[in-house]
Structures are given as C-alpha cells and as structure tokens.
Amino acid sequence: MTTETDATDTQETPDKTPDPAGSPRRRAVNDGGRPPLHLTRGRMVGAAAGIAGIVLLILLPLLNLSLPGVLPGPTYTPGSLQLLAMCMLMAAAALTYHLLLGVAGLLSFGHALYFGAGVYGLGIILQNLDIPLLPAMGLTLLVVIVLAHVVGSISLRVSGIPFAMVTLAFAQAGSVVVGRNPEGATGGDEGLTLRTDNLPDFLVGVVNTRNLYWLALAVLVAVFIIVTWVQSSRAGHVAAAVRENELRVRVLGLQPYLVKLLIFVVSAVLVSIIGMVFLLLQSGAVPRAVSADLTITLLVMVVLGGVGSRWGAVIGGVFYTILDQRLTALANSDAIDALPDVLRVPLSEPLFILGTLFILVVLFLPGGLTGTAQRLAQRRSRRGADRVQKSREILEEAA
C-alpha cells in the first residue's frame, strides 16, 4: 500500500542519516534520531542489559540488599517492596502518558480520569458485586473503553492548548463525582477500602506484598512492550507523522483523527489497568487517584525523564516516586524541624521542592534527565543533542 510507505517516510524524513540496508519497519523500531549503524549492536546490548535488569528485579524480594537513603529498609521487607512496586506502577503510568504526549503529541490534562476509573471502577465493582477478580477487571475495562471513546472523540475536536483544557474539564467532572460520593459508592473524601472477599489469597495482606510487587513489575514490563509495539506499528507512525505535519498526512488520505483517538483509547485502557493494580497494592482508593494533581504528576515525570523517550518516562516515574517519598520523610525529620521558618516552611513541603525542581529542569535541562545524561556521556556524539532537539520538537508540535 502506497499510503503506508508514504506515512513511514514522512516520519523518517527529519532523520537524515543514510540507511542503505534498513527497511522502514526495521528503522521504525529505532527510537528516532539514532543513527541506524548503532542499531543492531546497541539494541543487543540494550536487550541483554534489559533482561539482566528484569531478572535482578524479579529476584529482588528474595535478596537482602540495602540502599540507605533510597529505600526504607532491605529489599525483602514489605515497606521497601511497597515503594518499589509503587515506582513501577508510576513508571508504567508515565509510559502511557508518553504514548499521548511523546508519540501522538497530545497534551492531556485528564489522564487521571482513566487511572481513577480503573481504581474506583474495580473498587466499586468488588464492593457491590460478588464476582471474582478477573471478571471484575474485565467489567471495569469495558467501562473505561466506553468512557475513553466518548471523552476522546469530543476532546479531539480541538487540539493543542484547548485540548488540554477540555480534557482537564472532563477529568474534573470525574473528580467531582468521586468527591460527591453518590449513594455512598466512592466514599467521598475518605476514599474506599478494598473489599477482599472475592480476591485470591495470594494478593491479600502485608505478607503477600512481594506478590503484588511481582504483579507491578509484570505490568511495567507489559506496558513497556505494548507501548514499544504501538509506537512501531503503523498507527504509531501515522501518529508521529500527524504530530509533525497533520496537513501532509491528511493530503495522503489518512485519518489523523481516528489514529489519535486510537492512541488516546489505548493509553486510557493501559493506565486504567495500572490503576486496578494500584488499588490492590494500596488496598483502597483515594480521591487523589482521579485528581488533576495525578495527571500533573505524570506530566512532571515524563518531562523530568525527557519527553519523547520511553526510558525517560520510566526513569522519570521511578525518580519522582522515590524523591517524593524521601522528601516526605525529610519533611518530618528533626533536622528540618530545627531550621528557622524561612527554610523550614519550604523544605517541609515536598511539592514545593518538586515543583521548583520541575521548573528548573524545564528552564535549564531540555531533554530532561535522559537527554542530559546522554549529552554528558557522549559529548562528542550528537546523540544527546538529538535527544534534546527531539524533545523540543515534540513539545513544539503539541502546541
């Protein structure tokens, strides 16, 4: 089909590196801007490191490692596993946000709606219906799919900043419902405690935290694979092409609207599944799960890590979650308490520090942590600079 190759070419045009051998499909796997010469070797090293990393992460609950200052205790303790599982879920959620912003160029301020739909949907169904976990999850998923189609198809009538405002408004409506506590379903401000009657035993209780940890890890790996796959699929290419030049894609006879909607829905479905696991991990639902703050947190993670990079989203998610946890611990420490007010007040507010850090990254580290790291590691190569350039372009195109 001519349209397919055309669309692929459109996506690849900015990448001016010569590529005698690579087929469009093979280049596609390559995460933009990287010279394909590094491709095979780089990917093999990357894959090997990835597998080794995953094996280590799988074994972590069985080991007795300590990372003082990062983890609250040795790696086998429930406290540490809980934090690590949270890191993984947030990294996975940031990946789904990357799918919106980094791939489709959609600056959504309503992603929390679907995360919250997963959390509260599953919580309410388990509370009120006597069905096992998997059917309950399926039912929740159905609700999310319908919701994402409705909201997505309306919001995508506008783009850029208006899209951001509209998605925010819809998410806010969701947040309001949760706060209003209709017929006692959501628990209002108090939230909802997970009813465990119909859950499998191995997911219940503090002693089983490591099972939940493995579940979170599985979710992260699965989401990473799916996001990679979507990005390299035809829809991913068209989305990237639309991001760069919507008019050209229209001229080619493709439907940018449908492709954006598809990515919007996929991203919503994935984040709702993450929300469901979040419910299990936290043993309950809190209103924050559906608030604009959560969306903003995901956005901050993606930007901290580096817009347009899957690893950036993962690193941003983990980094933010750990920093947030450590800063909260710091805020309650005696050292901070002893400071004069001028220092104590700002330092005891984790969000103040994170917000300031975020502003500094946007101002001084375009390309985020990954972009900066690459720039430092490979001063001579243009890769780091490319990363920064790509992040900037994605942000420009989202406008």
Binding site: P14, E244, N245, E393, E396, E397
Partner: protein, 263 residues
C-alpha cells in the same frame, strides 16, 4: 564587496538559511538590494520568496548575515530591525480586522512625525473610512491600509510581498502607481507574481528556485529572455507583449490571478 554608506547596497543578505517547523525553506540565499529603485524577488510559487522576506526581518528562525545600510541586524529581534528603518507590507495584507482603519494606521506610526499628510493624499479613500473595522474593507482597500502602514514612516527600505495578489485589474494599476511613486524616495524589494507589474516597476531581479538564488541581474533583460523565464518561473512572457495597453494589462492580471489561484 565594500559596503560603504553611499555607494553600497542598502540591504545585503549572505548565506541566509531559514526553517519552519524543522523544514528548510530558505537555503544559503545571498543577494544585495541597491540603494535606489525597485528590485524584484521572483520565482515560482512556494520557492521561498515570502520566507526570505520573513527571514530578513526575523519573523521566522534563520541564520546567516543580514546587513541593513552597512549595519548587521541578524541578531536583533524583529521590532528592532523594523525600527531601524524597514517598512514591511506582508503577503495577504495582514491588517488587524477587528481594529478600525485609523487604529491600524496609528499602531504603525513609529516616527516622531509620521507622514499622515502623505498617506491621506495617496489614499483619500482611507480617510473617509477611518472609523470602519479594517476587516470589513475590500481586498484593495485592505492593501491600501497595509501600504499606508509602511509609508507612514521614513524607511531605509520597503519589503513588499505580493501587493497585487487577488486584486482587480484597476486596483493593480493603482498599487503599481503607488509603488512607483514610493520608489522615488525609498528602495523597494518587491515580491510579485504579476510580471507586467514587474516589467513596469523593477530595475533589478533576483530569482529563487528551491530556496536558492538561481539568477540575478537586470529585470527587463531577464523577462525578455523567454527561455530563462520559462525555465525559472514556468510561465511564458511572450503573451505579455511590450505594448502596455490597459486591456492587455488587464488580461494578464486576470490570467496571473488565475494561475495564482490554481497553484
């Protein structure tokens, strides 16, 4: 080239590159505009004429050398370049449609003593319509507003982008007359599709193709070289005979409009 204040060109461009959304639209363009008369910037549609004009005053991201009256200005923001003596008449007029004619003109005044008198003489129509929203004017009247905005101030050069585009033949003649009048006191760099107007006004010509300069020289010599115009502009100038009867002019204007619309 030695650019001294009196003998040198008023505008010198060297190695100008410009990008829009990551795409190169102007590639290594170099040319000069002499300190008197009208210089035409020619080329087929979409070769980067408008982008070149915009790049000169920094409306799009660009690199390269831009020298105005012997002073390098490429590092300056747009408003400073304009204040140093550039009058800009954009493609499609770009009047502020929700401002009145008088407001459009007042906004453009940057000299201590703007030449309101001159503008009123040149465009008596605008005086009568000064309280009207500029968006409700006809295309020709909007072009008058756009020209008037540039002529209000004392400029070192005028950059005029397709001033006759989409206008009726009678208005085209009026615009051309105004430009000829203006050119007596200020040099003009003119982008123009209507070759009859170019023939009437321009002394020099710079021809672009694919974002690059492919020809510079005398405007009439260029237009008389049918093979060259055919190759670089894609139009035959034979149809446009040298006699400038109003009818021939009108026919040509209509034809070139059609061409513009078709492309």
């Amino acid at each position: 080239m030695t650019a001294t204040a009196q003998a040198g060109p008023i505008l010198r461009i060297e190695g100008l590159n410009a990008h829009i959304a990551g795409q190169q639209v102007v590639e290594d363009v170099s040319f000069t505009v002499p300190a008197t008369g009208i210089t035409a910037l020619l080329g087929r549609n979409g070769v980067g004429k408008t982008s070149t004009i915009k790049a000169i005053i920094g409306l799009i991201d660009r690199s390269g050398l831009v020298e105005l009256d012997g002073v390098r200005v490429e590092k300056e923001p747009t408003y400073k370049i304009i204040r140093s003596g550039v009058g800009y008449v954009p493609e499609d007029r770009e009047v502020f449609s929700k401002l009145t004619v008088a407001e459009n003109l007042r906004l453009a005044e940057r000299d201590a003593a703007p030449r309101r008198q001159l503008v009123e003489e040149l465009f008596p129509d605008l005086l009568a319509r000064s309280g009207q929203m500029a968006g409700t004017l006809s295309g020709g009247q909007q072009q008058m507003v756009s020209l008037a905005r540039a002529l209000l101030n004392t400029n070192k050069i005028l950059l005029v982008d397709e001033p006759t585009k989409g206008l009726a033949p009678k208005i085209v003649a009026e615009v051309a007359e105004t430009l000829a009048e203006a050119a007596k006191t200020v040099p003009i760099l003119l982008v123009e599709q209507n070759l009859q107007v170019v023939r009437q006004l321009a002394a020099g010509a710079v021809v672009l193709s694919g974002g690059k300069v492919v020809h510079t020289g005398n405007a009439l010599e260029f237009l008389d070289d049918d093979g060259l115009t055919q190759r670089l502009l894609g139009v035959s100038t034979e149809a446009v005979s040298h006699e400038a009867s109003p009818h021939a002019e009108a026919r040509h204007a209509a034809a070139s409009q059609e061409k513009g619309a078709a492309l």
